[in-house]
């Protein structure tokens, strides 16, 4: 399954390189990729960065989705549902206003959001309550969204227009500087990638995980902060793309036969963003709809199905 998803992601990335206002035939694409200076200049300056950033951002969203869903024991608790993504977007827009690097702002916003959530959803005795996390996160997301709107109001018209597009989740305007920033994010994903086995054990429940030698509390806080940074970093690359993280978690789990596999979640997230970006550039290219709209349209039914499944299992 892992290989199948890898192949799917590569195929979608290749398709994404070929997609656009002018579609390239396979041999044209190959020729362009082999000739960065001449015939491939357009592909190398526009489409390659777009695809690389999309892959990294999608992988980051998918990974943090899986980690949050596993840590909080709730398939709805992905960063885009519990407000981490929206907090990061608020931080990024605020950073834009103050002239601070956007990624720093996004990180700050994401960390504040996850800290606030930890406090809001904590039960006085039983610790974090899996059901309350999602509800409080929903409210947090709405609050952060309203704050972002208020910030945008203070911007000039052109900045505000750009910010609105970005808030929809877009890969438009991606160039090589963004690729550098995207690659900076990769080291942050390492701890999460290596945490596969720990996540496996956390699934067994806190007590059992503890008796297997895990320091559950520290692990949860450390992995949670790391996952928040990864999700916020992805937001700073392409805006808050809705539901990539939410959908990538469960689908990645299916691909890994029910186990929380970080690699599978990353592949699913990357493939999801590729698919949405191909749609964004080919379905209605004139309207320039943000890529995040397509991820939302594909992801919202996943959200509804998850709610239904949880209801039937009485987990909600």
């Amino acid at each position: 399954m892992r290989i199948a998803f890898f192949a799917l992601t590569v195929a979608l990335a290749a398709l994404s390189l070929a997609a656009g206002r002018s579609w390239l035939l396979p041999q044209e694409l190959a020729a362009a990729l082999l000739d960065p200076e001449g015939a491939g200049r357009m592909v190398w300056s526009l489409r390659v960065p777009r695809v690389v950033v999309g892959l990294v951002a999608g992988a980051c969203f998918g990974l943090s989705g899986l980690v949050f869903q596993t840590l909080l024991r709730n398939p709805l608790a992905s960063p885009d549902v519990i407000g981490v993504t929206q907090g990061a977007a608020f931080g990024a827009v605020a950073a834009l206003g103050f002239g601070v690097p956007v990624m720093l702002g996004a990180w700050g916003g994401g960390l504040v959001a996850i800290a606030a959530l930890g406090w809001l959803a904590a039960h006085p005795k039983r610790g974090i309550e899996p059901r309350a996390v999602v509800l409080q996160g929903l409210a947090l997301a709405i609050l952060a969204g309203a704050g972002t709107e208020a910030l945008i109001l203070r911007m000039g018209d052109t900045d505000a227009g750009a910010a609105m597009t970005w808030l929809g989740g877009t890969l438009g305007g991606t160039a090589w500087p963004e690729v550098t920033r995207a690659l900076w994010l990769l080291p942050l994903t390492l701890p999460l990638l290596l945490a596969g086995r720990a996540l496996d054990r956390l699934e067994l429940g806190d007590d059992l995980a503890h008796s297997l030698g895990l320091r559950v509390g520290a692990l949860r806080v450390g992995l949670g902060l790391c996952a928040a940074l990864v999700a916020a970093g992805a937001v700073s690359l392409c805006g808050p793309m809705s539901f990539v993280a939410l959908a990538a978690g469960p689908i990645g789990r299916m691909a890994a036969r029910g186990r929380p596999s970080p690699v599978c979640a990353m592949l699913v997230g990357a493939a999801f963003v590729m698919l949405a970006d191909i749609l964004a550039r080919s379905v209605a290219p004139v309207a320039l709809l943000p890529t995040g709209l397509y991820t939302a349209l594909i992801g919202a039914p996943v959200l509804i199905l998850t709610v239904r499944r949880m209801r039937n299992r009485n987990a909600l």
Binding site: L76, L120, A121, H123, P124, K125, R126, E129, R131, A132, V134, L135, Q136, L138, A139, L140, I142, L143, G145, A146, G147, E149, A150, L153, R154, G168, S242, A284, A287, L289, L293, A296, L297, A300, P301, L303, I304, T306, V307, R308, R311, N314, L316
Partner: protein, 326 residues
């Protein structure tokens, strides 16, 4: 008697807020000037055009929308036995907005009655669908979660449809967050009676709903037609929420907060409906004024101001429920 006194005081507060909303804004008018404009209207004067053409319809729209959403919230919270029910959070407003936008897109410019009809239909359908999705059971958390999922799907579709028409981008904000910025007097006055009928139905249905909530068996034993009571409640929610969406787009949180404030005054469900009207109207009037005042000369949409107040209120409610469950 205390109900009448409370109602009088609350409506007085709404009146005071409305007067402030008429006088204050990007341009401030002294009280006597505002009065002169309202009593002795001179269309040639541009300052008076602002008052009659923009602020007055806006204040009336805020009162209607606020009262309607508050009543929708009271009835929804009673019927679902869920203190977190709200036409915004449960996706009813989003469903109504989707129905209207679909209609506008499919048939081009449609008349006001058609818009209202679509909004009612969308609100009713959304209420039923979300209830089915959430299922029965005791968990208070299901309904807002199912509603959020459904509402997100509806609003994504609204965004898709609205953004596909390049010339429609300026109405995007209206259909996504809800706003009173484009209130038009004729439209408001045509839609207000629908909200009014919804409120009257809510008042008539309050008693039977209360009885029904003692338990379906108990309700039947008291001689209630369960289906009819549920239908009346649904009609009240659809008419109030639908009319408010047709006037101001999907505005959230009034339906959540107003019933909780109304409960503080005590009384049965019918009293709650009556009390919720001025409370919701006041919330809408003051929130809209705040959005215009703090950001002037620009303005923050009503839906956004309410989210800033309502989201923390929601968080406090959930936290309190957590503690009570302890």
């Amino acid at each position: 008697m205390s109900l009448i006194r409370h109602l009088a005081l609350l409506w007085l507060a709404v009146l005071a807020g409305s007067v402030a909303a008429l006088c204050l804004g990007a341009l401030d008018y002294p009280l006597h000037a505002a009065w002169a404009m309202l009593t002795d209207y001179d269309p040639a004067d541009p300052a008076q055009a602002i008052m009659a053409g923009m602020r007055l319809p806006r204040v009336i729209a805020a009162v209607v929308v606020g009262a309607a959403l508050a009543v929708a919230g009271v009835i929804m919270q009673a019927m679902t036995r869920n203190p977190l029910a709200d036409p915004g959070l449960t996706g009813v407003n989003a469903g109504a907005a989707l129905a209207v936008v679909l209609g506008l897109y499919a048939f081009g410019a449609v008349s006001q009655p058609v818009v209202a009809g679509l909004a009612l239909l969308g609100a009713a359908l959304a209420a039923v669908l979300v209830r089915l999705l959430a299922g029965g059971g005791d968990s208070t958390l299901r309904l807002p979660l199912a509603g959020a999922a459904f509402g997100t799907l509806c609003l994504s579709l609204v965004a898709l449809i609205v953004l596909l028409n390049p010339e429609a981008r300026n109405i995007y904000r209206f259909w996504m967050v809800g706003s009173l910025a484009v209130s038009d007097m004729a439209a408001v006055l045509r839609l207000a009676p629908i909200a009014g009928i919804g409120i009257v139905i809510a008042l008539l249905a309050a008693r039977p709903i209360e009885a029904l909530m003692l338990g379906v068996e108990m309700g039947s034993a008291l001689g209630l037609n369960v289906g009819r009571v549920m239908g009346l409640g649904l009609a009240a929610v659809a008419m109030t929420a639908g009319a408010s969406v047709a006037i101001a787009g999907p505005v959230g949180f009034i339906g959540l907060i107003a019933p909780h404030i109304a409960r503080r005054f005590g009384g049965g469900l019918a009293a709650q409906v009556l009390l919720a009207c001025p409370i919701g109207a006041g919330l809408a009037v003051f929130a809209d004024l705040a959005g215009r005042w703090f950001a002037r000369p620009a303005e923050l949409q009503l839906g956004i101001v309410l989210a800033m107040v309502g989201a923390p209120a929601f968080m406090i409610l959930v936290r309190r429920m957590l503690r009570e469950a302890a």
